[in-house]
């Protein structure tokens, strides 16, 4: 069967939506909220349908990849760069996640943002993001990948700083942009090295031997080639930045300043997984660089447990989820570092469902409480927010890895493959260490997500009169003054347009594991050709009773975490007082990473700027030019006296000069 490749449509529809919505202000139509909703969601819905058609036709097609070159963008000597789109198993799965989850979040945003004066701006940015993300995953060469990479960074910047009247949002947007540029730079350097080595930037000479195929290109690198190591590590710098891995994770928690649906779409489900995508995409390079894979697994493991431990004590509902996202991305990198790319992508898809769901539920809570994000001022909301409560439970169980929710299967695919690598013949202790880290993280995950649920939805309401005014959050401006008699009276469930996407994602979080179940790993088999020679997802699977033991251990880890959370927070009055021990303070202050960066990087740079401003700018540059002006002025005053205004004086001077010249010639020997 022929491949029915609609990738171009998937790319151009969101761009069209962005262009239409972005130009509405010119015509004064930016108040037409209904039309904006239809255009914003409609283009994404059509893009999703196109992606679905492409995906289905690809699964039924004989060829496993389809590359279309649309035009020759640069042709200069040996350098040729084409604009082409590649539809292959990996990009089609990514397209489905991006447009599918993107569509649900667009619909959700219609309810969440309904009163915001920047409604048109919001939807045009959101469509722009989908366009950039589609470009990132469907480009057929590294240069267009870089363009998409930078454009999603721009979209992220615009949406984090969406409420630009809040200084904190502007600062967060700036921080995200600056940190992300480090990654862009790494990617750019990697691209230069790739060009130097291959003389081309297309995936087909670098990764695959044939543009329309999935056969891995033969290796051109020697064993432990330093160039290859540099390329793979520089690519990973880019991945670690975009996917918020240590030590470049600092931008993601601050990115929660953006509207909650943006956090769900960009900073949980799609953009931050671009790094996971890039490693999986470049699998053929990474397979040849085992050192790079160790680094990836190590950073992933460290990040997973580091971020999960921070999430234990945070009090901002969105920040808890942000650290959880960082931690889950760490899991994906552990999987990829262990060589099990398909498990990483599997976890990417399920994480997109349940983390987007959790953010949406958090958004519903924030929406209901008029912008309150501090969980210490919530509590007892389960009576008023039934739907949000139950969908939150679904998302929480999926995140904690409780059977049968999606997160359990994908997390176990990762942990199981680590265990398998560790106990298999010739296995290394390294994988068992990572397995241990993964299990410890699973315990922490169960704890922090159920702490969040118990504190927010159980117990009694602690907000009361202290409910603060939302800071600039427009959709809360219409909230009426609270009556003291029943503090929860004004709290209302989200409208159906927000609940429907939440329910859809709850269903996906429950059933979205079927394509990756360990017994018939359809996703793994589908993706396998992308990941290079000899990649076989089945080789990572545990067999027989070890599989059940791995299930049991993973489940137990999640349950232990939930159990501890229940013991601590399911009481009538959970202790929310800050503790005074050093561990608690370390975690609450996020290991002081921000402070360290502030001292090591920000302060010296700002100080140097001040110094050059004072010494170099005022002293040397300004001083130099001011001194020159002073000198010229003083000299002019002196010289002015020569201009007597008497013609005869001038003639006399002329004559004297002429005589002097004459004398010089006469007197010259």
């Amino acid at each position: 069967m022929q491949v029915f490749d609609l990738t171009l449509l998937v790319l151009l529809l969101p761009l069209l939506g962005f262009l239409i919505l972005g130009s509405l202000r010119l015509f004064g139509w930016h108040e037409q909220h209904e039309a904006i909703s239809w255009i914003g969601c409609g283009t994404i819905a059509l893009a999703f349908i196109s992606a679905l058609i492409s995906f289905v036709s690809l699964t039924n097609a004989a060829t496993q990849a389809h590359d279309t070159v649309f035009w020759n963008w640069v042709a200069s000597g040996k350098l040729t760069i084409n604009f082409g789109l590649r539809l292959d198993p990996l990009s089609s799965v990514m397209l489905l996640v991006i447009t599918g989850v993107g569509l649900l979040i667009h619909i959700y945003s219609v309810g969440y943002m309904h009163n915001d004066p920047g409604y048109w701006r919001y939807f045009s940015f959101l469509n722009f993001f989908i366009f950039a993300m589609v470009l990132l995953v469907s480009a057929d060469n590294y240069l267009f990948l870089l363009i998409g990479w930078a454009l999603v960074g721009l979209a992220s910047y615009l949406l984090i700083g969406f409420w630009y009247e809040r200084p904190s949002a502007v600062a967060a947007a700036k921080k995200a942009f600056v940190v992300n540029v480090i990654g862009d730079f790494g990617l750019m350097l990697a691209i230069f090295l790739l060009y130097g080595k291959f003389g081309s930037l297309g995936y087909s000479p670098i990764l695959f031997s044939d543009p329309n195929g999935t056969i891995a290109a033969p290796s051109v690198f020697g064993v432990n080639d330093p160039t290859l190591l540099a390329i793979t590590l520089l690519l990973f710098v880019a991945c670690a930045t975009k996917s918020a891995q240590l030590p470049l994770h600092v931008w993601l928690p601050d990115a929660m300043e953006g509207p909650t649906p943006v956090s769900a779409l960009i900073h949980a489900a799609t953009m931050v997984t671009a790094g996971v995508y890039l490693v999986a995409r470049s699998a053929n390079l990474y397979n040849q660089a085992p050192i790079a894979l160790w680094v990836i697994a190590g950073i992933g493991g460290l990040t997973a447990i580091f971020a999960a431990s921070i999430a234990l004590v945070q009090n901002d509902i969105k920040r808890i989820l942000a650290y959880s996202t960082i931690s889950q991305l760490g899991y994906m990198f552990i999987a990829e570092g262990a060589g099990n790319y398909s498990a990483g992508i599997f976890h990417l898809t399920t994480h997109a469902y349940f983390k987007a769901l959790l953010f949406m539920c958090a958004g519903a809570v924030i929406h209901a409480l008029g912008g309150e994000q501090d969980i210490r001022k919530m509590g007892g909301l389960r009576g008023r927010l039934k739907w949000s409560y139950w969908t939150f439970i679904v998302g929480g169980l999926a995140l904690a890895g409780i059977v049968p929710f999606a997160g359990f299967w994908s997390k176990d695919a990762i942990l199981g493959s680590l265990l398998q690598r560790g106990i298999a013949a010739g296995g290394s202790l390294w994988y068992l260490v990572l397995y241990g880290v993964g299990l410890a993280t699973a315990i922490l995950t169960g704890f922090y997500v159920f702490r969040l649920i118990f504190v927010v939805f159980h117990g009694t309401y602690r907000g009361g009169e202290a409910l603060p005014q939302p800071e600039g959050q427009a959709n809360a401006r219409t909230r009426k003054p609270r009556r003291p008699a029943n503090p929860l009276a004004q709290v209302h469930e989200a409208p159906w347009i927000m609940l429907v996407p939440m329910l859809a994602l709850a269903v996906l979080s429950t059933t979205g594991w079927i394509y990756g179940a360990p017994w018939f790993d359809a996703l793994g088999q589908f993706l396998a050709p992308i990941f290079g020679v000899g990649f076989n997802p089945a080789s990572f699977a545990l067999q027989g009773w070890t599989l059940w033991i791995s299930f049991g251990i993973s489940l137990l880890a999640g349950l232990i975490g939930i159990g501890i959370a229940a013991l601590m927070y399911l009481r009538r009055t959970p202790s929310l007082q800050p503790m005074s021990n050093i561990f608690y303070k370390t975690l609450l202050n996020k290991y002081w990473v921000d402070e360290v960066y502030d001292w090591v990087l920000v302060k010296p740079i700002v100080g140097m700027g001040r110094l050059t401003g004072r010494v170099l700018e005022d002293g040397a540059f300004d001083g130099g030019s001011r001194g020159l002006a002073w000198l010229v002025g003083k000299t002019s005053v002196g010289l002015r006296a020569m201009q007597t205004g008497y013609v005869r004086n001038y003639v006399l001077i002329l004559l004297v000069g002429a005589i002097l010249i004459l004398l010089y010639y006469v007197a010259r020997p």
Binding site: T644, Y646, R648, L655
Partner: protein, 102 residues
Amino acid sequence: MPPDQPTGYLIVSAVLFTIGVVGVLVRRNPLIMFMSIELMLNAVNLSFMTFAHYLDSVEGWIFVFLVLTVAAAEVVVGLAIIVSIFRTRHNVDVDELDSMKG
């Protein structure tokens, strides 16, 4: 026939030039100053002609033509300026024309 030596011509030329210089320096009437300038120019012309003749060279002739042309143009412009100054100030004493003084 001209004499064998150019001394006489050059002496006349130097005398004429000196008269011109002194005229420019001491007179305050711009018309007289112009005349003195013309005197200097023609003194130079005389020396040019002298050398052209005695050195049997044609460059001197060419320079004389150039000087004549420039002198004519200069006089035209200069007289126009003097006339226009006279119209605005009713006075052409050069010592009083000192508004460009520094």
